[in-house]
Symmetry: C3
Subunit: 345 residues, 3 copies
């Protein structure tokens, strides 16, 4: 944390258009949790289960809803959505690693690639033919930008990102280490006569919209014929798998280890939970939420929250219940038979 | 797409032994979907749900089954399996990135490694002691081939592939970026006295047969004592986990995020769905299909399709149903009691 | 295997404090399975299902429980826990790849980094500002150690490991290829007015205790405000996802593809099965076991084994049972109604 960056209550109130309460000259140079923040740090209360920590907090400034203002022990900023306000304020205190403009001497750049003079290309990067690295883009160490790929202005590949071929990133896209974008889709035809698989060439590409974020070790395959597409502001956590020809609508977010099979079309403003899956060729409407580890087996036409799975139990009773599941259809029939008998009595 | 590569209907019919209908001189230089292909492109109809698009397609040539020939608006090729025929034809139009023969000056190659004069070793590759890179093999940028590993003839490591140690790839193996093959198996013994874990050395290797494909960020551990084995023509999608001492039979395919635990033995011609799992030490017969996200908890001795899981619902009714699952054994007992009462009446 | 390393029965008995039976001069230079080991190899019997193989084993020495001694055809070592004893003995025969002390000329090391004279830094490694590589640490090829990260003494990054920023590894930590530690946590606030996501800066770090092991392509995000923590001797298999601010207690082990969401707190000596998941902000007591593919949806306060999921079946009957699950709540109500009728008769 750079100690020379600090802001007063008054400065923060003005910059973020928030109502201030308390000593306008209180100054903070960082952020922390309600429990851990000290007098020179700002904290926030967004989740009511932490309300009990508010009165005892030593934070110099706390961001709260109006309803919690009375319990604040010191200076406060009032926001309709304290978590959002905190997110914006906290960004002031982030110190990103330095990214020197220019191309590191260990990088290998094809003569036909076009690298903006304001871009930063780190150690051991490899940039292919006809690739474009636009203004202000930052490539950390060990990034590979394949033939014909484009990294849009002010995008940032943190480190060790691979864009395989025909990948276009928009502006301000953030990609974390180990992500692989534009790899072959998994397209195979079975040759019955020969008794073996024949690979389908994957001739499409990948288009990633502005302001997307792609997590560590996430994989996004390129399309078979047309492109795999993420519209703008799509947010993917770590270890997500996006198969070929998937289309993800703007502002959709997916938690870690989610997976979407080929040619599925996900709407805008969807939320896909951790390790959830979507089968191929399905369509999800806008504003669909899928809870963690659920499997989407049919298209969803209405916004709302959807789930599958059974609850966690101690293994001993669980085993008994799980064994019964194999006879659920029979139980339902037996239940109907009893009811029928009852009605005929 | 290289516009100078093109083929007439007659040339394609002869090359792939297919019946041609329409103008023999129609020429195509690429492929596309029924909806998007233009007069200089070839398309195909394999899935009956797209039949409605056939009549309106502007594609120069369409590959169809005989039964759909009447609906073709223009030139056509007739195939028993149009998807397979299309796969073979489309390969003509794939342009792989150039792979210059020789070793890039930034690569680090151990003096005892043997690299064929016809192989291509890309920027920043690292090749260990006694490694072998055989004829026509291509290593894209940033590949690591550990001590004693072999890359068979005409195999291709797209980029950033890691072969850790004692890994042997057959011929024409294709490995996508981020894959790690030959890492330590997860072998631990618990030392009760010391209250901590003791690691078992992983002394085996990995053997990958000819014509296998390994997806992006997939991991295949080496064996503890003997080798982890993939027979020929095994096809693994992205982010698959193959634990130590697993044996996968020839022509088996696994979709993204599938996982196989240690010492499991999967048969030939199996299909493992996305995010499905197989527990350790189990055996699956040949021609077993596991649907997506299922967990295989016992060995399977008969070919067929197997599943687990419960269906997706709106979360509100799902929560009620899921809560009832915890009492399923009790319900079954109560149902039997009612039936017994009924029979004693 | 280096043939010059060998040990007699007497030497092994003394070194590991085990009772020896048979010819004290029997000498072994490697290990193998009961079925495959030859006269110059040591084997073990830990799992009773392999007892039948013992009498026919050609192994020079076998490690067994006292109760199996009578069936040993040759020399034997007796141990209370043969698997543990074998683990310790087998380590004698592991030959790790050579790691020359010093910094490879292709590595890029920041002037402010501190690399111990006894450390090994491999080809193409990139070490950032103020990073520390402590005594005897080994960095294989292509490792990235970001600004301010520390690699503790005798830790080993096998190859292509990325420590992003503010990551501290203890001593003797082993990290496998493709692992990403210290990437941004997935922290987002939704800006309703703007209709888009706002990213929360991830200002914390990651602390990994002594003797931890991190599998291939595993991801561990850094904390939002405080650190993500793994206590000592935590063992993570491949492709595990640990979100920001997770805390994992000492000696806990997780199998491949497990995932833990943000701010969850896992106890000591827990066992998390393959592809199991833990939702955010939950707490698991010490000595909790979660079986494979289960989803933990509530905190667990008691040690024991916990599960979720339904059993695998052939798909045809499974589909019928699964369809019934959507009506389980209704069935339970109908069952209660029948019972009530019965009691009122």
């Amino acid at each position: 944390m750079n100690a020379t960056i600090s802001y007063t209550l008054a400065e923060l109130a003005e910059r973020f258009d928030l109502a201030a309460h308390g000593d306008a000259s209180v100054r903070v140079d960082g952020v922390g949790t309600l429990a851990a923040a000290g007098p020179s740090q700002l904290s926030f209360l967004a989740n009511s289960k932490y309300t009990a920590q508010l009165a005892a907090s030593r934070a110099g400034i706390v961001v709260v809803r109006a309803e919690n203002l009375a319990e604040c022990p010191g200076a406060a900023l009032v926001a309709a959505d304290p978590y959002l306000a905190y997110a914006k304020i906290a960004a002031l205190f982030e110190r990103l690693p330095a990214a020197p403009v220019g191309i590191h001497p260990s990088a290998v750049v094809a003569p036909t690639a076009r690298v903006s003079a304001s871009a930063s290309v780190g150690p051991c990067c490899v940039i292919g033919d006809d690739a474009v690295i636009d203004d202000g883009a930052v490539l950390g160490p060990h990034c590979i930008v394949g033939d014909g790929c484009t990294v849009g202005a002010h995008s940032r590949l943190v480190a060790r990102v691979t864009l395989v071929v025909r990948v276009t990133l928009g502006q301000r896209v953030l990609v974390h280490p180990g992500a692989v974008i534009g790899s072959d889709g998994f397209g195979l035809a079975f040759d019955r006569r020969g008794g073996h698989w024949i690979k389908l060439p994957q001739l499409g590409g990948v288009r990633i919209g502005d302001d997307c974020e792609i997590g560590a070790n996430t994989t996004i395959d390129r399309g078979a014929l047309e492109d795999t597409v993420l519209e703008e502001d799509v947010r993917l956590d770590n270890q997500i798998q996006i198969a070929h020809n998937v289309h993800v609508g703007a502002h959709t977010a997916m938690a870690g280890c989610a997976a979407v099979a080929g040619s599925a079309k996900i709407g805008r403003y969807c939320m896909i939970g951790g390790n959830a899956g979507v089968l191929g060729h399905l369509e999800l409407a806008d504003r669909v939420t899928i809870t963690a580890k659920s499997l989407v087996t049919h298209s969803i036409h209405e916004p709302g929250e959807y789930s599958s799975g059974v609850p966690l139990q101690e293994s001993r009773p669980w085993r008994k219940n799980a064994a019964r599941f194999k006879h659920l259809d029979a139980y339902a029939r037996r239940l109907s038979a009893l009811e029928k008998d009852k009605n005929h009595e």
